[in-house]
């Protein structure tokens, strides 16, 4: 990965030297006013290092790592696009970072204005009526969205207990007159794992439905599974095979006729941005991933941010608080009697939103559409460049990502997707998403995003082509890959059998 810096896997605690200090206030430590019985009696086992020791330790660690800045990272469903540097600078302005979450509204006008304006812009982009930027991750957004649906049905039931007219009827969600306990959520088998996990976390039963052979929802199967108990149908558009759910309007119609809601997982929104408004497809609730579509960095696994957008009927249930504009100033409203409540102690991953907002500022309608266009062209380009050696799941054009699998020549030699993925690392490419979606045997899911150049993709296709021929000539060599990383394949079995998760 980096020949010049020798890999060094010593832990910081192993480099520790007694009495070394990385930071000091240069004053005698004051006496503690802590009663004896309430005081700590041991010394925490933390490294003792100079500041320079720490800087060198972590800088070296950063070198044993693939990242978007250094490597092509075609992870399907993760949208590893370039993270503009301007986002980092403007989100770190002192005015933003020094503001306490409980600062008086008058002292946080800048941040409040951004969040308010961002919500408006995202509503327009998604064709939805309102939103909340509270959730801090896609899964957190999903959970919030499903809680909104739950509350919606609870309130419908409650309103039926009293003879007064239903208050919430101006929305686009058709309302059924019967009182039912809707405790099922329909999820296609191609869905992200977070969808069923979210459903059960919110107390719903997951009803899995099998996809049709073309990877889309099988309308007949769906019809058979929609019942008066169906609360929500959760869909990913385009789906995890990179295919647009062409029957989406019909699906939403079926759901609404049944009194159910449609939730859209927006993980793949990069394919639709500036091109299609999900609200117009008929979805009632959707989430967005700022760390995917809106270019905020993934940070090695987070933090992200995951706002949700809703149709009018669901607005009263949005999580507390809401930001409101009165005259020229912005305020935080906590007085929301029908809200599902708080989903996080403080406001959201605000600094992540600031990055996404800067990105939004730089993109007018024309530039937004270019994101979708180029992400779709790039994915199809890779797909067509590889389709003879790594047959795609579907022969039709894909949207922003494609799902392939090793050809028969490879599987006959015992080469698995994992081997191809590991060998790619040797060529300086992060592996695509593998073994997902689970409905595709030996899946290789590639999402190049709009920011990769043709040159990079040509080189990637060449590397995949080379691996294909290597695998036939010397399958054992490929099975032992990677050969050039700081470590060889790791023993995950022992790691799980005898977990060593701390020093």
């Amino acid at each position: 990965m980096n020949d010049i810096i020798k890999f060094d896997n010593k832990l910081s605690i192993e480099k520790s030297g007694e009495g070394k200090r990385g930071f000091s206030f240069k004053k005698a430590a004051p006496k503690a006013g802590i009663p004896q019985g309430a005081a700590r009696t041991t010394r925490p086992r933390l490294p003792e290092l100079s500041e320079f020791d720490v800087v060198r330790h972590f800088t070296r660690l950063s070198k044993f790592n693939f990242s978007v800045d250094t490597h092509f990272y075609p992870l399907g469903s993760c949208t590893m696009k370039y993270n503009p540097k301007i986002n980092e600078e403007v989100s770190s302005f002192d005015g933003f970072t020094h503001t306490h979450p409980l600062a008086m509204d008058a002292c946080a006008q800048g941040t409040l204005e951004i969040i308010w304006d961002m919500e408006k812009r995202l509503c327009e982009l998604c064709g939805m009526d309102a939103g909340t930027l509270w959730p801090v991750a896609g899964a957190h957004g999903e959970y919030t969205g499903i809680l909104l649906a739950k509350k919606h049905f609870e309130e419908l039931n409650r309103s039926r207990d009293v003879p007064s007219p239903v208050k919430n009827e101006e929305g686009t969600v058709p309302i059924h007159s019967d009182r039912v306990n809707r405790d099922e959520i329909i999820v296609p088998d191609s869905a992200h794992g977070t969808n069923p996990a979210t459903a059960s976390m919110a107390g719903f039963k997951t009803i899995n439905i099998n996809s049709a052979p073309d990877g889309r929802i099988d309308l007949e199967v769906l019809k058979a599974r929609i019942t008066p108990k169906t609360a929500v149908i959760m869909l990913t558009v385009p789906n995890t095979l990179g295919i647009f759910e062409s029957n989406i309007a019909k699906i939403c119609e079926m759901a609404h006729a049944n009194g159910s809601l449609v939730y859209m997982d927006g993980a793949n929104f990069n394919a639709l941005i500036g091109l299609v408004k999900p609200g117009e497809l008929g979805v009632d609730i959707m989430h967005l991933n700022m760390h995917k579509t809106f270019s905020t960095p993934h940070g090695g696994g987070g933090p992200g941010a995951g706002g949700i957008m809703v149709k009018k009927a669901l607005i009263p249930y949005l999580p507390a608080p809401r930001i409101e504009k009165k005259g020229g100033s912005f305020s935080v409203n906590e007085d929301l009697p029908l809200s599902i409540g708080r989903i996080k102690a403080w406001f959201t991953n605000t600094q992540v939103l600031l990055r996404a907002y800067a990105y939004l500022l730089m993109h007018g309608p024309k530039q937004l559409r270019e994101i979708a266009e180029n992400s779709i062209i790039n994915a199809n380009y890779i797909k067509s460049g590889l389709q003879d050696l790594f047959p795609p799941y579907s022969r039709e054009y894909c949207m922003h990502e494609c799902v392939l699998a090793p050809s028969k020549e490879l599987t006959d030699k015992g080469i698995r997707t994992l081997d191809v993925a590991k060998r790619l690392l040797d060529y300086g490419y992060h592996a695509p998403t593998i073994y997902f979606p689970i409905i595709v045997h030996e899946a290789i899911m590639i999402e190049p995003t709009e920011t990769e150049s043709k040159e990079t993709m040509d080189a990637f296709i060449a590397a995949m082509t080379k691996i294909h021929s290597e695998a036939q000539k010397d399958p054992e060599f490929v099975k032992k890959a990677p050969h050039t990383m700081p470590v060889k394949r790791l023993d995950e079995v022992e790691a799980a059998r005898k977990p060593n998760i701390r020093w």
């Binding site: 073994y435 995950e492 079995v493 799980a496 059998r497």
Partner: protein, 128 residues
């Protein structure tokens, strides 16, 4: 235990019956398909299990498998050796790698389980 002495489910559990007591494990075929077992979430002694409902969970590195009770009854013992050595399920699925013992509440439920020959046939056809 010899494979011929056991009864099998379509979900690849085996059952050894003596009177109203029984031992449950997973077949050699099943452990092979699951790969290296890293953890067994054992059932609580005294808990009631129902035929074809989840009784415990076996985990490999990248998957988790529900283990279903072949018949209804009450758990009388769990193989606590597996807590430290889950690999026993791979090494000795029919002997040291048994999962739990139970007291059968409805002996008639065992009648639809497969014998060794039928199970072998089942595995063969299921593979195609």
């Amino acid at each position: 235990m010899k494979p011929e002495e056991l009864k099998y489910t379509k979900t690849h559990e085996w059952l050894h019956i003596s009177g109203d007591a029984a031992v449950v494990g997973i077949s050699d075929h099943a452990q092979h398909e699951m790969g290296d077992i890293v953890f067994v979430d054992l059932p609580k002694v005294g808990s009631k299990v129902q035929k074809e409902k989840q009784a415990c969970v076996v985990e490999s590195v990248k998957s988790a498998f529900d283990i279903y009770a072949p018949v209804s009854g009450e758990i009388t013992e769990a193989n606590t050796k597996l807590s430290d050595e889950p690999a026993l399920v791979n090494q000795s699925p029919l002997e040291n790698g048994w999962l739990f013992k139970m007291k059968i509440s409805a002996p008639a439920e065992a009648s639809d389980l497969m014998d060794w020959n039928a199970y072998q046939e089942f595995v063969k056809t299921a593979a195609h």
